[in-house]
């Protein structure tokens, strides 16, 4: 249980308000027409929306994990955070190897893999 306060208030309520506000921004970012704003930065609305969504998703993620799931402020928070972060390496490997590789002819081998590049 939380033994701390956020801005002198109850942490769960504060966290709840924060999450609601962030989600409202998310929905608004999708609903509002950001074309002009995007064009002023030389990009498309889709890209701007995606950036906003990604940037907001991170604090939401942390807020839920840290406060609601008690990964902050409890005696056992440290070791449980380590437990929760343990799969990070394996997640990265799966995303890299499974999600982001693409089949190609063997000739698609980049030069840095080629022995000729190293004088072999």
């Amino acid at each position: 249980m939380a033994h701390y306060k956020i801005f002198g208030q109850d942490p769960y309520w504060m966290n709840f308000y924060g999450l609601m506000i962030l989600t409202l921004i998310e929905v608004a970012a999708v609903g509002l027409d950001l074309t002009e704003f995007a064009e002023s930065y030389g990009t498309t609305e889709k890209v701007v929306t995606l950036w906003i969504l990604t940037i907001i998703a991170i604090p939401k993620f942390i807020m839920i994990a840290a406060i609601f799931m008690h990964l902050y402020g409890d005696e056992d928070s440290g070791i449980l955070t380590m437990t929760a972060l343990f799969p990070a390496f394996f997640i990265i490997i799966m995303v890299l190897f499974v999600g982001l590789t693409h089949p190609d002819a063997a000739s698609g081998l980049p030069d840095w893999c080629r022995p000729g590049n190293y004088g072999l």
């Binding site: 089949p103 002819a105 063997a106 000739s107 081998l109 080629r114 022995p115 000729g116 072999l120």
Partner: protein
């Protein structure tokens, strides 16, 4: 006499030598210790004073442990080094790789494939240019398409092997071929047994394999990616003529 191809054989022999050395070392050690340190009848000294409920005294030697971390590591670095070299051959780029560009059909350019023993670490295949053919697989038949190549260079048809009619591919020795392959149904893989190459044939995608026809020989081509009932019968005859 080469077992598969010179490229494969030189690696194979080198690996075999190292395997033998490692095996001799390990088994010699094992043999010696298992007899030299066997306890005699009735004698059963508790060497390290093992006792129930007590984590035994550490028995280690950092130098030794490091030695057999580093020595195998060096060995595998060397083995990686020698196995890296043939990559340029088996995964050559279609244009401008080890085998040059595609042969100019109208000028009767010749491929002139040969094995250069002195090139690189373990030797390498060299060619002037290469020919392209197409291989299409479906359950459980191969089909070869020679495109515009002359019959002398490439010819496809049917022949009989093991009492069944099977597709047949006839190639000319001394030529490098690049096969573009695709499948109509499930995954297959042609294995050019005597050339030691194989690559999966995927539906909806095109993969490539280099066929380096150096010597005159004939052999069966087998399917080596499981593809259903008649997987074993999905074969073809390959003739490399002079």
């Amino acid at each position: 006499m080469s077992l598969i191809t010179p490229l494969y054989d030189s690696l194979w022999n080198e690996y075999l030598v190292w395997s033998l050395l490692v095996a001799l070392f390990t088994f010699g050690w094992l043999y010696h210790h298992s007899f030299f340190y066997r306890s005699e009848d009735g004698e059963n000294p508790n060497v390290d004073d093992l006792e129930v409920g007590v984590f035994p005294v550490h028995y280690d030697d950092l130098k030794l442990e490091l030695a057999w971390t580093i020595a195998p590591f060096m060995l595998i670095v060397y083995l990686t080094y020698i196995s890296w070299a043939p990559l340029d051959n088996i995964w050559s780029s279609p244009n401008g790789g080890s085998f040059g560009d595609e042969c100019d059909y109208f000028n009767n350019e010749s491929s002139d494939l040969y094995f250069d023993d002195d090139d690189g670490l373990k030797g390498a295949y060299k060619a002037n240019c290469y020919h392209t053919i197409e291989i299409t697989a479906k359950q459980w038949v191969w089909s070869f398409d020679c495109g515009t190549l002359e019959a002398e260079l490439c010819e496809s048809g049917f022949t009989e092997a093991d009492g069944r009619a099977v597709p047949h591919l006839s190639l000319q020795a001394g030529n490098a071929y690049l096969a573009y392959m695709t499948s109509e149904d499930v995954t297959h893989a042609p294995w050019f047994v005597s050339l030691g190459v194989k690559e999966d044939v995927l539906p909806g995608q095109t993969t490539t394999v280099w066929i380096l026809a150096e010597d005159v020989e004939d052999f069966l081509l087998l399917c080596t990616e499981y593809c259903g009932d008649d997987h074993a019968y999905m074969m073809a005859g390959v003739t490399i003529h002079s």
